[in-house]
Point group: C2
Chain length 376, copies 2
């Protein structure tokens, strides 16, 4: 079926093409051996693979997190530069293949001193069972740093003893772009679209580097990812490292997404409390105009909090409640690291959470998100 | 005082030297500017600095974790190769300097895909107050990877507004050797030895890569480091990544250390349960002969546990109890990750803990260690 669609597309461009061996045209379709396993690779950007987390992506398109219309002028060069990072994006599919492999070319290498490449430029493969429960299969990270962004990296992800239909989610890197992703399966194996999530509509996150995922050990262990796996929801991550300033254009574009929950979390990148006072409620109101009933969780920063920042965010919440808004939730995160030893134990640099800090954030947001979904 | 000792040493070798400017002889003594701060650097391997965690180190010597007599023949090439990694080592000192800087040359770069360099080849500076409580000041990690091991890296660690005497601990990298470490203070600042720890004798750990510290975000967030900071004890880390096989020679050498607690934790590196059966009790008995009363905490692995491995370790413990040993403690770690989401959430690769996994390990060992110390 999938091959048919692709052949049809090629056929539209050139009638002769249909007779050609597609593996000669697109290397993704080659049969290749990894170890003793002969695999056939399929480009993950096309159906039946489902690319999630990129609401403005066009079928078959690249892995950008933002739509046209967000520019250096109305947002910032930072936001435009970071939208290529694949944070929150995932490839979902089902297959009966006994072996699964992944081949990818990143766009950048994600090298940072305080974040492991397994998180910044690595990929996480998970199994998803029929009840929407996820189990970790493997993290992929390219060994040869000098080849990153240039030479495709491929690795076997799993081998099963039987060929029953299984569903997978491949979570893409948090601090790195992705040029291409291909999934390798055994010759003749079937590939099908994944089942829908338990939570019908995505959870959208807007925030800073912490939201984007710095400095988690793996793409899936960021609080956003932990939450969406636990609830079984699509994650849309609009975390822009150092560049989430609450610009109007972001509020407008985010308001275009049909979502189950909006997690509104950019305290970290507001230069000061005054900036929050000037932008936080304004952003919310722009969003609210487009999404009058969407539940909104407003979070404060977890590390280096300040009372006036908390107050600015709380004001948005309290004014909304006063105005009769029944879909706003406020989480003061100032003290959530304390049961885990405080900021020094939960961050790598007083700012970016380690996996321990992200666990604390997840524990803070999960009950609020769960209640929202149960009350619906 | 410190300069006097060094001048005296130089004088012993060459009478003319004493008249020379030492900063011309040893670059560590240069005055150097970092930003606008003019600092004078002192080599941390000499008094009044206290180098901890390296019981066999000779005054002024290098940063090796093992004594002469442990060889590729009676241990392994792996153990001999890894003893140069500075895991668990710390530089302690007190100073009234308003500014503190660190300069170091690593031996290797600690680059791994699944561990951040802030942990593998980074340094953690902590303040220690008069009650033995530690607070995180800064993590240092060399930005230019190609310069690592070749070019000294220096960075300002802290600036204080007053010049009261403060005590510091600088924790060395977990997966990297250290050629030299120098501490920079303001011209004329006093440097003194640190106060003793609350726990008089060190806590010694023997184990695998997990014990050595893979894959913590920072040197101080490994469970061994968290435990020793919380209790205020010197850490002696004899974790040998992939190479802790329970060799007799290690038991003998470890038995030479006068310690408060021995944490015995090499399940991960035993190739199988049979290997544990053949070595675990034997190692303990060799150690026990030298240290008849030292409290010993025996731990099983936390990830990918197996019943027969747990049984082999438990047997050592139960036989000791039966024989009247009142100083043995057993922690089955098979399930300690469960409250934190299990092995998949607590490790980067089903094996090496993230900071979340290390927190779980710390929580498991802390009450046992605390009870041992209180009962004494």
């Amino acid at each position: 079926m999938r091959n048919l669609v692709l052949f049809a597309l090629l056929f539209a461009a050139c009638a002769e093409c249909a007779a050609q061996d597609i593996s000669k045209i697109d290397r993704n379709f080659e049969s290749r051996k990894i170890g003793n396993v002969e695999l056939r690779f399929y480009d993950a950007k096309d159906a039946p693979f489902k690319v999630e987390g990129l609401p403005w992506r066009k079928e078959g398109g690249g892995y950008s997190r933002l739509p046209d219309g967000v520019t250096a002028e109305n947002a910032s060069r930072g936001v435009v530069g970071l939208c290529g990072h694949a944070s929150g994006a995932a490839i979902r599919f089902a297959t009966d293949s006994k072996s699964i492999a992944v081949r990818y070319v990143t766009n950048g290498n994600g090298i940072m001193g305080h974040m492991a490449r397994s998180g910044s430029s690595g990929f996480d493969l998970y199994l998803r069972d029929e009840n929407g429960r996820y189990s970790f299969v493997k993290n992929f990270h390219q060994r040869n740093v000098s080849e990153m962004g240039k030479v495709p990296y491929e690795e076997l992800g799993a081998n099963f003893s039987d060929s029953k239909m299984r569903e997978f989610a491949l979570f893409l890197p948090r601090y790195c772009g992705v040029k291409s992703v291909a999934i390798g399966v055994l010759q003749g194996a079937e590939i099908k679209p994944p089942a829908p999530h338990k939570v019908a509509k995505p959870i959208v996150f807007y925030g800073s580097s912490i939201t984007q995922g710095g400095c988690a050990s793996r793409p899936a262990t960021v609080y956003t990812g932990k939450l969406c796996r636990e609830l079984d929801a699509e994650e849309i991550n609009l975390g822009f490292s150092g560049n989430a300033k609450g610009e109007d254009i972001l509020a407008e574009k985010i308001g275009d997404i049909d979502m189950s929950i909006f997690v509104y979390d950019y305290d970290y990148n507001a230069p000061n409390a005054r900036h929050l006072e000037n932008t936080h409620e304004r952003f919310f109101k722009i969003f609210r105009k487009k999404r009058p009933d969407t539940p909104v969780i407003m979070m404060t920063r977890c590390s280096m909090p300040s009372a006036d920042r908390v107050a600015a965010i709380r004001r948005t919440y309290e004014n909304a409640v006063k105005a009769g808004d029944k879909n706003v939730y406020f989480i003061d995160c100032s003290k959530i690291f304390e049961p885990y030893g405080g900021i020094a134990e939960c961050t790598v640099d007083f700012c970016h959470p380690t996996d321990l800090g992200f666990h604390a954030m997840y524990e803070a947001v999960l009950p609020v998100a769960r209640k929202i979904l149960e009350d619906k």
